[in-house]
């Protein structure tokens, strides 16, 4: 470490020397812009091209100074940074340096020793597209070679908590402007959000970016594509979401436990799944049925899915694979798939239910019922349909949030909190690498929901999530009684969550017989079970 530092010091001195020489070269070159460097301007920083050499050199000094003050890689700066004027990069760096070591600032430009190839700032800087600004200082120290266009040095990315708070406030102010139909103000604010978001890292940045995009769509009235392209794509996205965290697994395991308990003693069981997708919920149930004391019942599964754009029979493929699994573990299995654009289009007649079948029926819906509220009468139709099926149990899993309020601003704020928590849990639990496909696709999956909640209206807005309390009222008035999910479900869910990282981040909470998955104190998903009220 020390050796590098010393080498770095002499190089800085040398760079100082060469930079003063270079500085002259800069000034001689024609400056088409107002002297501000374009590449920096993209990021929102105003740095004069003539100052670039100076600023870069100071940043290198700063980085070295930071390097000597870090203990285990955690910069002591990160919590104390106050970034008064983010666009004045030069001034900020000076203030940082003076905090560290007042004497070090004097180094620049003093000792000039000739140095041949130590060119930190050459014309390549102009040619570098996009965000690559500085050369990589570590490379410089080690190799004395041409700089490689590389990442922005870490000094720039030191997280300013103040910027984070400002970001949230700007987002909310923008939403308020939209609420009051003040589009000019909203437009200006949404652009500012973009600038602020770049200075953030991690979950905050992603959430802000998605919300800013959704707000922009709302302001400019550029609505996202309609649902026709979505079905196979959204299945794939949900699969990645399944892989990336415990959310869907929690949903499946808790719902399965309720179904299993409701089916105890039955010899013929029939599950109607409103949300078949890839059928990931059913292997675990089939395995539990296979190992049931007394042997497995015969298991029939009816899956509902949206039409596929390429007319392929995705449902049948899923059914076939489930059949292979059932055959392997020795469960008698039958599958039927029905394609429907919306659950409200279904008719009880197609299900081939009759009392003479002597089968126990369960209806399952994971993240599907809320879509019905986009059209008037949709949810009532489906609840009536469910009642006419006469099921033993109805399992419903929904997002625990109210994203269906009448007032846009309330919806926005609620969604901001909910999805911030979601992204935070994804990042902190650290299951998948941040750049893995699962992570990225999960972000897209959630991003589409955000876009729908914020930017869409009317029948287009399908992500009309409601809270458990709201669903309780709805189900109660439709003629359903709650079924308590027992301690088995609770224990299984707790164990499942304990397998995931994030320390104690993920929690199972029991809420009057229903189970909720939460991240710290915020519930995210709620599973509830229902049966027909017996008069």
């Amino acid at each position: 470490m020390k050796r590098d530092r010393d080498r770095g010091n002499t190089e800085v001195a040398a760079a100082g020397g060469s930079s003063t020489g270079k500085l002259k070269m800069w000034e001689e070159q024609p400056q088409p812009d107002a002297g501000m460097d374009e590449l920096f301007a993209v990021l929102g920083y105003k740095v004069k091209s003539t100052d670039m050499a100076d600023v870069a050199e100071k940043l290198e000094q700063l980085e070295m100074a930071m390097g000597t003050t870090t203990e285990d890689g955690v910069s002591l700066l990160s919590t104390d940074t106050v970034h008064y004027n983010p666009s004045d990069l030069s001034g900020w760096v000076d203030s940082m340096l003076s905090e560290f070591n007042p004497t070090q600032i004097g180094i620049s430009g003093h000792e000039s020793s000739p140095c041949s190839s130590n060119l930190i700032y050459d014309d390549d800087l102009r040619a570098i597209p996009g965000g690559a600004i500085f050369s990589n200082y570590d490379n410089k120290r080690m190799k004395l070679q041409q700089p490689s266009p590389a990442a922005v040095p870490t000094a720039v990315l030191v997280d300013s908590q103040e910027t984070g708070v400002r970001l949230v406030h700007t987002l909310m102010a923008c939403a308020e402007a939209v609420q009051h139909n003040n589009m000019k103000l909203a437009n200006a604010l949404v652009k500012h959000v973009g600038v602020l978001a770049v200075s953030q890292i991690g979950a905050m940045r992603k959430v802000a970016t998605y919300f800013a995009e959704a707000l922009a769509r709302k302001i400019y009235k550029i609505y996202p594509n309609d649902n026709s392209l979505e079905s196979s794509y959204s299945d794939a996205l949900q699969m990645h979401f399944y892989e990336s965290g415990p959310y869907l697994k929690f949903a499946h395991f808790t719902a399965n436990q309720a179904i299993l308990e409701a089916f105890s003693g039955a010899s013929k069981v029939h599950v109607i799944d409103f949300s078949l997708k890839q059928g990931m919920q059913w292997p675990a149930l089939m395995q539990a049925l296979a190992l049931r004391p007394g042997g497995p019942p015969s298991f029939k599964l009816t899956g509902i899915g949206p039409p596929q754009p390429d007319n392929s029979d995705a449902l049948q493929e899923v059914g076939w694979k489930l059949a292979r699994l059932a055959d392997t573990i020795g469960v008698e299995f039958e599958f039927k798939g029905y394609v429907a654009n919306s659950l409200a289009d279904l008719d009880v007649g197609i299900f081939d239910i009759s009392p003479s079948n002597d089968e126990s029926i369960a209806v399952n819906s994971v993240f599907e019922l809320h879509r019905l509220m986009a059209r008037p009468g949709g949810i009532e139709r489906v609840l009536n349909l469910i009642k006419s099926l006469n099921p033993e149990i109805v399992t419903i899993v929904e997002q625990e949030a109210n994203h269906n309020g009448v007032v846009f601003l309330d919806r926005f704020n609620e969604a901001l909190h909910y999805y911030s928590t979601m992204f935070d849990s994804l990042e902190t639990s650290g299951l998948t690498r941040p750049d893995s496909q699962d992570s990225l696709m999960t972000e897209v999956y959630l991003g589409r929901q955000i876009c729908n909640v914020v930017a869409c209206e009317g029948v287009e807005r399908v992500e009309r999530h409601e809270t458990l309390a709201q669903w309780r009222v709805r189900m109660g008035s439709a003629g359903f009684d709650p079924v308590h999910l027992g301690s088995n479900a609770f224990k299984q869910a707790s164990m499942l969550l304990a397998l995931f990282g994030g320390g104690d981040g993920f929690r199972v909470e029991e809420n009057d017989g229903c189970l909720m998955l939460g991240w710290h104190t915020r519930p995210l998903i709620a599973t509830s079970a229902w049966r027909l009220r017996r008069v």
Binding site: E243, Q278, Q287, A290, I329, G430, M495, G503
Partner: protein, 145 residues
């Protein structure tokens, strides 16, 4: 008796039942090491019954009969142990002795195992691949719980 004669008297490989009894008491890592000794030991340690014993030897009461059929059909006890039982227990017990003790842990492991099988079906219909699908990859990663 001379030294050579005494030495020649007992060879563990001639007493398979004793060898198996010893192997049954080892943990998974030692079994892996044992598998490298010679071809005979390699074959013996791959015997699924050994791994079944390893999975459930501390479970009381022992798992019901149907479990074996299902587990064997889904890929066998060795796979069950490596993919599900070991990670589940090490995560849940966090350093304490790894032994399958409760019914819930068994059920969870079996459910995850079945999901694992199904995912391999989804991925390409080829069962028997060595790589586990990503849904259970989280169990393979070291996690700071």
């Amino acid at each position: 008796m001379s030294m050579e004669e005494k030495r020649g008297k007992f060879c563990i490989n001639d007493n398979m039942d004793v060898l198996i009894e010893i192997l049954k008491r080892l943990d998974d890592r030692s079994l892996g090491v044992a598998a490298c000794v010679c071809r005979l030991w390699c074959a013996l340690t791959r015997n699924d019954a050994l791994w079944e014993h390893l999975c459930f030897r501390h479970l009381s009461p022992p798992p019901p009969d149907g479990v074996r059929t299902v587990v064997v059909a889904l890929g066998g006890y060795r796979r069950l142990y490596m993919v599900c039982v070991k990670p589940v227990l090490s995560r849940l017990r966090q350093g304490k002795l790894i032994r399958m003790g409760t019914r819930h842990e068994v059920e969870l492991s079996l459910s995850l195992f079945c999901v694992d099988y199904y995912e391999r079906l989804l991925l390409g219909g080829r069962i028997g691949g060595a790589d586990s699908p990503s849904s259970l990859m989280f169990l393979c990663k070291a996690v700071n719980v």
